[in-house]
């Protein structure tokens, strides 16, 4: 018998049992759909982090305190750090020739209130260089000046989202806001920047002079009792001189911190690229976990196919007997069942891919409390999902098909 005829028999038999065929496919549809959706979301999250960092520029270095013991992302978390950096450290770095701007930044969460409105935002204690380092432009008013920093003025510049939530359409410049029970005057509003890092909007910020942050809001001291700086952002002239500048920063800070030759750095100099690498590691793990969850549903789907194939062989024992009685060979029966399994898994996989695609498209267009994930459906995920579903279909079809093919015709006919 020719292959085309086996194909025709298989297709006819699938159409003759529409309910059973669609139930079998459902498992694969859900499994493949879940794989596509979750992998796309994971990839999307990775892509959005990468693009956010690229926006910030690759010619940026960040100096943070570090015990030199805890590495990776954990080492970057403020919770693990003893403060070692000061404003004088930041000032000393200005001497390096290729450095364009230096911005010491302290960061925390704070509740900002104005009138009846309140909002939790990220507060940055910064210097005038903040604007240049992070490519922020002003929408209204002015930015923090050197004088503001020197005299620890109670002034703030609001991120666009904060300004809108607190003051709506009104002009916030000159108005008062309250943080930690103290009153600050709004002197400017930043242009919206869009984007987010790990789901936190870049526009949900409040900027205040770093000296004000240190003395009036969140006091933190180094071992020697000076006001601490959480991190120093260093913008260099171009990406090529990054390594050179990194070395100079290390030399200057080691001398200032009086570290002997055999002592480790009590700070770390991290480039945006390194930071991106670490974050990508995290989102990579995130994607793998999502993929694993999706794979479990694919596995469950495949067990479903196997189960239904087995039931269908049993249920169709008589049909197999009839076919064998009129001259079907083992190979013919085997081929029929295998083709049926392959069609089910191919069609199911196809529908699953389309479904997963649609769902990840919808996810991209749904705002989840300020966070949007632009999911990315890429060819390799689709190919992976198709091949997995066909493999599962064939693998779970082979055993029932062989069992069906081996039946003795008269035993098969007597059944049921």
């Amino acid at each position: 018998m020719k292959f085309v005829e086996s194909l025709a028999i298989a297709i006819r038999s699938l159409f003759a049992n529409k309910l059973r065929s669609s139930l079998t496919m459902l498992g694969i549809i859900i499994g493949v759909g879940a794989v596509i959706t979750l992998m796309s979301v994971g990839r999307g999250a990775q892509a959005s982090i990468t693009s956010t960092f690229e926006q910030m520029g690759t010619n940026l270095l960040s100096v943070i305190p570090s015990s030199g013991e805890v590495g990776g992302i954990a080492g970057m978390s403020y919770a693990f750090m003893t403060p070692t950096l000061t404003l004088d450290d930041a000032k000393a770095l200005e001497r390096i020739p290729s450095v364009v701007a230096i911005d010491p930044v302290n960061e925390n969460y704070v509740e900002v209130t104005a009138g009846g409105e309140s909002k939790v935002a990220i507060i940055h204690g910064a210097s005038p260089a903040y604007q240049q380092v992070y490519n922020h432009s002003l929408a209204l008013g002015q930015f923090i000046s050197d004088r503001n920093v020197a005299s620890r003025d109670m002034v703030v510049v609001l991120g666009n989202e904060v300004a809108e939530d607190l003051f709506g359409a009104d002009d916030p410049v000159g108005q008062k806001v309250k943080m930690k029970g103290k009153r600050f005057t709004v002197i400017g509003v930043l242009e919206p920047k869009g984007g987010a890092i790990m789901g936190v909007s870049l526009d949900n910020v409040v900027v205040t002079p770093i000296t004000t942050f240190q003395t009036k809001l969140f006091t933190q001291r180094t071992a020697r009792g000076e006001d601490a700086v959480q991190s120093i952002s260093v913008k260099v002239a171009s990406a090529e001189v990054i390594d050179e500048v990194r070395e100079e920063i290390e030399t200057i800070l080691r001398r200032r911190h009086r570290l002997s030759v055999d002592e480790k750095n009590d700070f770390a100099v991290i480039s945006m690229e390194q930071m991106l690498g670490m974050l990508q590691q995290v989102t990579g793990i995130f994607t793998i976990v999502l993929g694993a969850i999706a794979s479990i549903s694919l596995l469950v789907g495949s067990i479903g196919i196997m189960n239904i194939m087995l039931v269908s062989v049993t249920e169709r024992t008589r049909e197999i007997g009839i076919r064998k009685a009129v001259g079907a060979k083992r190979r013919d029966i085997l081929l029929q069942f295998l083709i049926e399994a392959a069609i089910l898994s191919l069609v199911g996989g196809g529908i699953g891919i389309v479904g997963g695609w649609v769902i990840s498209f919808l996810i991209s267009h749904v705002n989840l409390g300020g966070i949007t994930i632009h999911s990315v459906v890429s060819a390799d995920i689709v190919i992976l999902a198709i091949s997995v579903s066909v493999f599962i279909g064939l693998a779970s079809g082979i055993y029932p098909a062989m069992r069906a093919a081996r039946l003795n015709p008269i035993d098969a006919l007597r059944y049921g």
Partner: protein, 219 residues
């Protein structure tokens, strides 16, 4: 055409061995119309299945047109069933979701015929079912379903038609119809073997093989 030489068939039911055939020696010539009779459990269906290569014998020898059948492998047996034999069963054994025509085409598909529709239609017309070719078995009466089964049995021009209680589920009018079809086929040169327990059907055949407890007591 068919030579049986002390053929036995033993089934194992757990630890018990059941003898369905005990040393059956028999020959069938081309063009005969034979009935096999006997009480239920006498082994008449088993004999028919062994003749038709639906089942293998346990010991003895079986020659079909001079060839030793017990030496054939599964694929060769399938070919024998396809080309040499046509089966008609008591409960028709049609594919219930396929039309009469598709059912009759089935042996042609497995036989690898290029042209299927025309011989299948001819076979249906031969049993008087041409106009009902597009009907499914559930839309046909018992007698009509059995005629579809006969059409399927003869579509590959078999040497032998084997019928296992073909009228067991039919009323007397349909029974008469089916038997007259078998007689017509026999007159056209096809050897027919019918298993039955109805004496008046057996009476219409040329030769009666009487089985009891797996042995032939008269033929």
């Amino acid at each position: 055409m068919i030579e049986f030489e002390s053929v036995t068939k033993v089934y194992r039911m757990g630890n018990v061995e059941v003898y369905a055939l005990r040393g059956v020696t028999l020959s069938i010539k081309q063009g005969e119309m034979i009935s096999i009779i006997g009480a239920s459990g006498s082994g008449k269906s088993t004999l028919l299945h062994v003749i038709g290569c639906l089942d293998r014998l346990t010991s003895g020898s079986y020659f079909f047109e001079g060839a030793e059948v017990s030496r054939l492998n599964d694929n060769q047996l399938a070919e024998m069933r396809n080309k040499k034999f046509g089966f008609v069963f008591q409960d028709y054994n049609l594919l219930s979701r396929a039309t009469a025509l598709a059912n009759v085409e089935l042996p042609l598909i497995y036989g690898g015929s290029r042209n299927k529709r025309q011989p299948a239609m001819e076979a249906l017309e031969r049993v008087g079912l041409g106009p009902r070719a597009k009907h499914k078995p559930t839309e046909l009466s018992g007698g009509e379903q059995q005629r579809v089964a006969i059409a399927r049995a003869l579509v590959n021009n078999p040497a032998l038609i084997l019928a296992d209680e073909p009228t067991g589920n039919l009323d007397s009018a349909a029974t008469a119809e089916i038997i007259s079809i078998f007689r017509q086929l026999n007159q056209d040169g096809i050897t027919v073997v019918i298993v039955t327990h109805e004496a008046d059907i057996a009476a219409q055949t040329q030769r009666i093989i009487h089985l009891r407890d797996g042995e032939i007591i008269s033929q």
